[in-house]
């Protein structure tokens, strides 16, 4: 029953995303054709040609038929054709996806590990110097726009010091798989991952710290102390185990933010992932491409949430079903 609800929830999310995608070109100002063809093509079309194009795209059929066609198309992997690249959207996106995933995966792992560790240290020394200084630093860093942090990193590490390349994801001319290639990829990952992770770490640190503080105020902590549990065990065994739940939730919610952050940060580094693709789509007014990316991003976030939900019972016996 619980799983039924979770799954139906995500199906609903996906359905909304598809409906939005279908509706947007039809309710946005102007003709839907505006959103499917480029302006110069449109300007030179005759009325007969237009009607033919409408028929070709199925735009003359009733809305319900169009919608069914669209949805079945999506499930077959057909997200339309990119005007900018002249290729199927799904293929373009899939080609770019690994780079974005690489970026996000590292940023997620790093920010989760570092944020949790620092947050717990802040809670251990709560009220102390480390706690206060980390709060100040984190509040400021967490408030900075991620792309700005990235620009500063480039200025410092590339322009001024010349330590790291600031462009692309892989060295040009290197054979994929070779040592030179892998080193090049790693070099080019450092800055974008750092910028992403720095901003994300701030929110995880704050969550970890407050989750620990809340857990430490619970009655079972007093009782554990009354049992004679030494303070470090109270902290790490009893409090941390309970604080893990909100931390985990926050890390998982952070995936949604990371998607956004990754998209923006790629444009700073001209990193060949989905984000740069979006920017190219925006510049070329390639609506098919943007919509396709949106559908896939939704799918990705839904999958991440699903995995998160499946992970809960491992951490919290209260949501386990017997």
């Amino acid at each position: 029953m619980v799983y039924f609800r979770i799954v139906s929830q995500y199906l609903a999310v996906f359905a909304v995303a598809l409906t939005l995608n279908f509706a947007l070109p039809r309710i946005a100002p102007g003709d839907p054709l505006n959103y499917m063809l480029t302006e110069d093509v449109l300007a030179n079309m005759t009325a007969a040609q237009e009607a033919e194009v409408l028929r070709e795209f199925g735009l003359d059929k009733p809305l319900l038929v169009q919608f069914t066609a669209y949805v079945t198309g999506v499930f077959r992997g057909d997200l339309g054709t990119s005007v900018r690249f002249g290729e199927p959207v799904s293929e373009i996106v899939l080609a770019r996806l690994p780079w974005t995933l690489l970026l996000m995966g590292w940023a997620l792992a790093l920010s989760a590990a570092i944020g949790t560790a620092l947050g717990i240290l802040a809670a251990w020394w709560r009220g102390g110097r480390f706690d206060l200084s980390s709060l100040v630093v984190v509040l400021f860093i967490g408030s900075a726009p991620v792309f700005w942090v990235a620009m500063l990193l480039i200025t410092l590490l590339s322009a001024e010091l010349g330590w790291l390349p600031s462009f692309g994801a892989a060295p040009l001319g290197a054979i994929p798989g070779s040592g030179e290639y892998i080193l090049g990829v790693a070099e080019r990952l450092i800055m974008p991952v750092t910028a992403l992770a720095i901003v994300q770490t701030a929110s995880i640190l704050l969550t970890a710290r407050s989750a620990m503080s809340i857990a430490l105020g619970q009655d079972y902590i007093t009782f554990a102390r009354a049992k004679g549990v030494p303070e470090h065990q109270v902290f790490f065994r009893h409090a941390f185990r309970n604080a893990l739940l909100p931390i985990y939730t926050n890390v998982m919610i952070g995936i949604g933010n990371l998607v956004g952050g990754a998209l923006v940060i790629e444009t700073v580094f001209s990193y060949p992932g989905i984000g740069t693709l979006i920017l190219e789509g925006v510049e070329a007014r390639d609506y098919n491409l943007l919509q396709g990316v949106f559908v896939l991003a939704t799918l990705g976030v839904v999958l991440a949430n699903l995995i998160a939900d499946l992970g809960y019972p491992l951490l919290d016996p209260r949501v386990r079903r017997t």
Binding site: T155, R225, K227
Partner: protein, 844 residues
């Protein structure tokens, strides 16, 4: 003093300026104020237009252009000032819109409940699961880049985020007793929402606004950075977009071009974060205080060498701002080996503070400022934290106040038992496990429950587990701090029996801390009565009951009559021919049977089944039962708050419908919750009149307050509920109930949240209202002793069914139904010892 300590804090958005949170919040306000002023006035003072090309491209800073110029010769400082207007106004306008939408959705969902709520929350979940930046980009791309579009698009993706929190707050407000009270007075949904829910919700809306503004500024800058901002009116994000597009950081201009807009964004976002600082955090940030050694006198020989636990002249202060508050004042106690000492006191008397000091587990703000605590011949207050920790659980153990929450929710009870064993002994894993099983058996729990998590156990079973853990290492002294509070009467009796049985078998010394005199008077060897931080009297229960010196002790015993004592209130019987005021005919009500319950996977609950009940004018009827027996639901049905599935509810022969002016009023259990803390006494008492459209209220308010023996001068009328004591509050609640001259008042446990010594006063007040105003009462209670003394007739409810009814003395003294018999047996085991002048009747 005790009442002030227990009163609900009034929530405000801004913390007081002398606290850390208050200072941080004000710093945020100052930063955002300065930035707001700068971007408002700055562009007027600047000699240039932001779009003017007035200098050489990449001009370095000089006096004319303090930040230099960009690639097309526009003044960068002017650009930032103008951009700030865009960024900040988008942030604020979006936050306003979003907060309004979210509040509306949250309040409607919470108030309507049921299907509306379910649907609203599903929609919220869906919107929150959409990846918002890609969505914003797609929407922005389709609808064009302009400021209104940006505002709308960000609102569209953000509105769902605050709904969750606001709704859960609105839900708890809707369930608040003062809202329930207003509903009971006949207030409409609209009135309740606008007069009670929204005003209380406002302090919670503000942080949501701040949070959205914080996020909106960041999202806007991301959008503009991707080139989706308004191309003419450039925000901070858009300035960075241009800087990035021109690869400004490869020239020297980056310092002036890239740093300032990013700093401006970060600063304004930080400012919003600071304003929202500490809201909802609400925990104190300091470590547990260790007992300090100051004020320790050189050890003199303990006066009672055989004492297991000796407390000498113990004084404990709480640091409060300003000054400090003395919780315990020169308290001395001796516990002999194997003795059970009952430490009895009302809320705020310092009894729990004293107990926690013995365990070395005082709250961080508490300090021992004098005295000694001796366990055998070791002085506890001079121990190092580590030494104290090794001693806890081994020589002194605790059965804590809230057994429901004392077990770690993510560990099986087996692991928690084994942990307790292994902390102080060094057994093999198998031996530790064996010992844990024995401990479970000792408290009558099946060993099969070793693998159970706390949430899988009932309250009584959890309390038994906690006792098993406390006794795991055969401690010398056991501190039991209100160990049965909050448990059902029968469960309570079982726990008490278990404790005294274990005490007999193990010979442990028990310090039993409680507010419940009858509960402990039977079980304790000696009692110590505590009031305002001082131990006012010590002695054997029988002696105290009969020859107490201290007025407080006498008041405590006087307020807890025995079940067998002569009935305290006897009234002339009312002829059965008198038509009843209230007539419930075969009423049944089942919860969780609709569609939404199915969606929530909730099982139907039969709350009341086949209930018939009559109350005649001037009569006092007691409805007695444990938690979940359906007695409160029955009252709400009588009030017309719930419509029964079957049966009739007649008031003076006419059907009670949900919307009629009600000649019935209700008084609730907890006067701290049934009166909104921020309301003034005058408005509280006037509310029923206003609900019924009566304008001229002054005289009636005065009469009602006089009837409950409260002053009715201007200064009292303008006092807020938060500043009243518990007893005063309950009197105000009664004044509110009688102001419309009802013929019947439903009193739902009106004394159970009050301190023992003022319970009798409330019952006396009810009797005077009955005599002076001819009010009949339905007295709902779990306390069969009080019910027997106060009521004319009793009805005993169990699981929604009346199992026994009749004259009060007949039901209480010759119970027929097993459930009633069990209730009586439970209180017989824990009733105060007989007072000499009262001749106890023989139990049958």
């Amino acid at each position: 003093m005790s009442d002030a300590a227990a009163s609900a804090p009034i929530r405000r958005f801004l913390a007081p300026p002398d606290t850390v949170a208050g200072r941080v919040q004000r710093a945020g306000l100052v930063v955002i104020g300065v930035m707001g002023t700068a971007v408002l006035i700055g562009p007027f003072l600047s000699p240039y237009e932001a779009t003017e090309h007035i200098c050489t491209p990449f001009q370095t800073p000089n006096t004319a252009h303090p930040l230099g110029c960009n690639d097309v010769g526009q003044d960068l400082l002017t650009g930032i000032l103008v951009g700030g207007r865009i960024s900040l106004s988008i942030g604020i306008v979006t936050a306003l819109l979003t907060t309004i939408v979210a509040t509306l959705v949250a309040v409607v969902a919470a108030y309507r409940g049921g299907l509306v709520d379910q649907i609203a929350m599903r929609v919220v979940d869906v919107v929150m699961s959409l990846p918002f930046l890609p969505l914003v980009i797609v929407l922005g791309a389709f609808f064009g880049a302009s400021l209104p579009v940006q505002v709308l698009v960000i609102t569209l993706v953000m509105w769902a985020h605050p709904v969750r929190e606001l709704r859960s707050q609105a839900l708890s407000l809707r369930a608040a007793e003062y809202v329930e009270a207003a509903r009971a007075m006949g207030a409409s949904g609209w009135r309740v929402t606008t007069r009670h829910i929204l005003p209380e919700l406002t302090p919670l809306i503000a942080p949501q606004f701040i949070r959205v503004a914080h996020n909106a500024i960041l999202i806007e800058s991301s959008l503009s950075f991707l080139g989706l901002g308004d191309p003419i009116r450039k925000s901070w994000g858009a300035i960075l977009f241009h800087a990035n597009a021109r690869t400004a950081f490869l020239t020297d201009a980056w310092v002036w071009w890239v740093l300032p807009p990013g700093l401006a964004i970060a600063l304004s976002v930080v400012a919003f974060a600071l304003i929202g600082y500490g809201v909802g955090d609400g925990e104190d940030a300091s470590k547990r205080a260790q007992p300090t050694a100051d004020g320790m006198e050189p050890a003199e020989a303990p006066d009672a060498p055989e004492a297991k636990l000796a407390i000498r002249e113990l004084t404990i202060d709480y640091d409060t701002s300003p000054g400090h508050f003395r919780a315990v004042q020169g308290a001395s106690l001796n516990l002999a080996e194997g003795e059970t000492l009952g430490l009895v006191g009302e809320s705020g008397s310092g009894k729990s503070t004293l107990a926690m000091a013995v365990l070395g587990l005082l709250a961080p703000s508490a300090r021992v400022t004098g005295g000694r605590i001796m366990l055998g011949d070791s002085s506890l207050l001079t121990l190092t934290p580590n030494a104290f920790s090794r001693l806890r659980g081994k020589r002194i153990a605790l059965i804590p106040q809230s057994a429901m929450n004392a077990l770690n929710p993510v560990m099986t009870i087996g692991r928690q038992l084994i942990e307790a064993v292994r902390l102080h002994q060094n057994p093999s894993p198998a031996a530790a496990r064996q010992r844990a099983v024995e401990l479970l058996e000792m408290v009558d729990l099946p060993p099969g429950r070793m693998g159970a998590y706390p949430h899988e156990l009932s309250g009584g079973m959890r309390q038994r587990t906690v006792i098993a853990i406390a006794l795991a290492n055969q401690p010398d002294v056991l501190i039991a701090d209100e160990p049965t509070t909050g448990l059902d009467v029968l469960v309570q009796a079982g726990i008490m029996e278990l404790l005294s049985d274990l005490q007999r078998r193990l010979g442990v010394t028990i310090l039993f801390v409680t507010h419940d005199l009858p509960l402990i008077a039977h079980a304790a060897d000696r009692l110590a009565i505590m009031q305002d931080g001082e131990i006012v009297e010590t002695g054997e229960p029988e002696a105290l009951a009969n020859f107490a010196d201290h007025p407080h002790t006498r008041a405590l015993f006087a307020s807890t009559p025995s079940i067998h004592a002569p009935k305290m209130w006897t009234r002339p019987t009312i002829a059965p021919s008198v038509p009843p005021l209230l007539d419930l005919v075969d009423v049944s009500l089942t919860f969780n049977k609709g569609l939404t319950a199915k969606l929530r996977n909730a099982r139907p609950v039969i709350a009341v089944s086949g209930l018939s009940l009559q109350i005649r004018p001037g009569e006092v009827v007691g409805l007695v039962g444990g938690s979940g027996s359906g007695k409160t639901t029955a009252a709400r049905v009588a009030l017309g708050r719930y419509t029964p599935d079957a049966g009739q509810v007649l008031f003076m022969g006419r059907e009670v419908s949900a919307d009629r002016r009600r000649p019935i009023h209700m008084v609730f259990q907890d006067p701290y919750q049934s009166l909104r803390p921020r309301m003034r006494v005058g408005d509280i008492v006037a509310e029923p009149l206003r609900i019924h459209g009566i304008r001229d209220t002054a005289n009636r308010i005065r009469d009602a307050l006089a009837a409950v023996r409260l002053p009715s001068d201007e200064s009292f009328l303008s006092r807020r509920a938060a500043s009243l004591s518990g007893g005063q509050r309950q009197r105000v609640a009664f004044a509110r109930a009688i102001v419309t001259d009802p013929k019947l008042i439903l009193a739902d446990e009106p004394t159970s949240m009050l301190d023992q010594s003022i319970r009798m006063d409330v019952l006396k007040l009810m009797e005077s209202l009955r005599l002076e105003r001819h009010v009949a009462f339905l007295f709902i209670t779990h306390d069969i002793v009080m019910a027997r003394h106060f009521c004319d007739r009793l009805m005993v409810m169990q699981s929604g069914v009346v199992v026994e009814e009749g004259e009060a003395d007949q039901v209480a003294l010759q119970p027929k139904h097993p459930y009633t018999q069990a209730l009586i047996a439970a209180v017989e085991n824990m009733s105060a010892p007989p007072q000499v002048e009262l001749k106890p009747e023989a139990a049958e």
